[in-house]
């Protein structure tokens, strides 16, 4: 089954920008990604720029409304994702627990909805 690991953390949580701790964490992310790839579970994954770069778009009554910022003001925001392919939820949860941010942030694990081939045609 495919799962999305959605990586959430608060802006002020975790190692500070440019600190040696952050550099060390980067190494952990690289190692984690490599481990996923070696296990044959990695489909993809990227970090995202911060919410100060976010733009939200809605179309209401035919009009496009563009606003600065994320769609909802929350303390913990989405900072990146992995898509993985494993057998069970338990395996996905094991991988989620291993990400470097779980000690200060949260990982939401969501199964990918499989669209049956018949419905696509």
């Amino acid at each position: 089954m495919r799962y999305m690991l959605l990586l959430y953390s608060a802006a002020d949580a975790g190692p500070a920008q440019g600190s040696p701790e952050q550099a060390a964490e980067m190494q952990q992310w690289f190692a984690y990604t490599e481990e996923l790839a070696k296990a044959g579970c990695l489909i993809g994954g990227e970090p995202l720029h911060g919410i100060d770069t976010a733009t939200t778009v809605r179309v209401r009554e035919g009009k496009t409304v563009t606003t600065d910022g994320p769609f909802a003001e929350t303390k913990e925001t989405l900072g990146g994702y992995y898509m993985i392919d494993v057998e069970t939820l338990d395996e996905a949860l094991e991988w989620a627990a291993k990400t470097p941010l779980t000690t200060y942030g949260s990982v939401e694990v969501r199964p990918i909805m499989e669209i049956p081939a018949a419905a696509e045609a």
Partner: protein
């Protein structure tokens, strides 16, 4: 008559049957449906003089056949399970063919694993507590949706929705029905034991609702706790919980009088305690003890055992109980455990010492506010004050406890005590 043969077989065979079918079919709904149909056929065809030699094997073969029927008819299900019908059919037919005439059942070890896997799956931490409880009662205990709804005092439609949501999450999120790896077993077991204990307390604490059905929940919880312990012989806390429920349940008949009033432990007719359950609890606690891995359920069971061994409230070894609560506090440093300890202190060392212990609990503001909203705190306090002849303060505490109780028979009990303290 045939009904009762099937009913006898049901308790033993239902969880084994569902557990095996969940492994083979990979879907809990399908497994339950097939099991239910197999039991319905058994009820219709078994006769006292004509019952299969191995009822379990008969039920399994029948259930496998019904599962194939469902597969053939239900294309949505095939899609949900993400496998072509031919593959699933081939698999299921293979199972039936290999079954031969009498049908085969999994090896004993596989059967144990299947049952554990079913229990761990139903209590998976990815499900919320309500869902875990409902799913466990449905799939492991074999209670109907109607029975579970009645036991939890919710409309049947509400419980049905809860079960559907739980099963949808199991299926869509990919919750596997497997025994957790060794290094995860203890933390996963915590959630299983919590579910079993909640089923028990739900059945035991509330006297609102039809008493018989609630008693049924106690039976299910005791059966479950025994099963989990038997399946995990080296898990001390599983045996601790099983001991605790056996010991606590031994007092069921004495807990409520003929008028439906609560009878406190001190006033219970001890000849009505169930000595078989006490003995079972004692043996189970000894087994846990031998594993040398103490925990909160074992300590609570030990406290229950001290009560069970006493011929009267006065003869109870209260100082032992205080020591056990001290240990329990090291595992669960909660105001409620502290409250129970203070009550034991008042019995062991007098109401003044008990009151002192209670006051010490309420020093911390967070604990104080939690205790203030807890009716047993005010009732315990009132009790100690009354014993110290401070009847005015006692009456005030009884009134506060009365304000907080929603339970009819508790209300009557507290009203009597309030009248007592006002008449002094």
């Amino acid at each position: 008559m045939q009904q009762s043969i099937v009913a006898q077989v049901f308790a033993d065979e239902w969880p084994r049957l569902v557990a095996t079918l969940v492994r083979e079919l990979g879907d809990i709904d399908l497994a339950e449906d097939a099991a239910q149909q197999a039991f319905a056929e058994a009820a219709a065809s078994w006769r006292p003089d004509n019952t299969p030699n191995r009822p379990g094997a008969w039920l399994l073969t029948t259930a496998r056949r019904r599962a194939i029927d469902v597969f053939r008819r239900n294309s949505t299900l095939r899609e949900k399970l993400g496998r072509p019908v031919s593959e699933a059919e081939a698999e299921a037919s293979g199972l039936i063919e290999s079954a031969g005439d009498g049908g085969d059942q999994p090896e004993p070890n596989q059967l144990l694993d299947d049952q554990l896997a079913l229990i761990f799956g139903c209590c998976h931490p990815a499900l919320n507590r309500e869902a875990q409880i409902a799913l466990t009662l449905r799939s492991v205990c074999g209670l109907s949706t109607r029975q579970i709804a009645a036991a939890f005092l919710v409309p049947e439609a509400t419980m049905a929705k809860r079960l559907v949501r739980a099963k949808d999450k199991v299926r869509n999120a990919g919750i596997a029905f497997t025994v957790p790896a060794r290094d995860r077993l203890t933390e996963r077991l915590d959630s299983v034991l919590a579910v079993v204990y909640l089923i028990y307390t739900e059945g035991h604490s509330a006297s609102e609702g039809p008493a018989l059905i609630r008693g049924g929940l106690c039976d299910e919880a005791r059966w479950l706790a025994d099963l989990v312990a038997d399946l995990l012989p080296d898990q001390a806390e599983a045996w601790g919980l099983s001991a605790l429920i056996n010991l606590s349940d031994s007092r069921r008949a004495a807990r409520v009088d003929e008028a439906g009033q609560i009878v406190l432990l001190a006033d219970q007719d001890r000849s009505r305690w169930d000595t078989d359950l006490i003995e079972a609890g004692r043996r189970r606690l000894h087994h846990a003890d031998d594993l040398d891995d103490p925990g909160p359920y074992q300590l609570q069971a030990a406290i229950a055992l001290v009560h069970a061994m006493a011929s009267s409230a006065e003869e109870t070894r209260w100082s032992t109980i205080v020591t056990l609560y001290d240990h329990l506090l090291s595992f669960e440093p909660t105001p409620v455990v502290g409250l129970n300890r203070a009550a034991a202190v008042s019995k062991a060392f007098g109401p003044a010492a008990g009151l002192e212990a209670l006051d010490a609990l309420a020093i911390e503001p967070h604990a104080a506010s939690e205790l203030d909203s807890y009716r047993y705190y005010h009732a315990a306090r009132a009790d100690m004050l009354l014993r110290l002849d401070r009847s005015g303060e006692a009456a005030a505490s009884y009134r506060r406890a009365l304000d907080l109780t929603t339970n009819e028979s508790e209300r009557r009990f507290l009203s009597r005590r309030l009248a007592d303290s006002e008449s002094r």
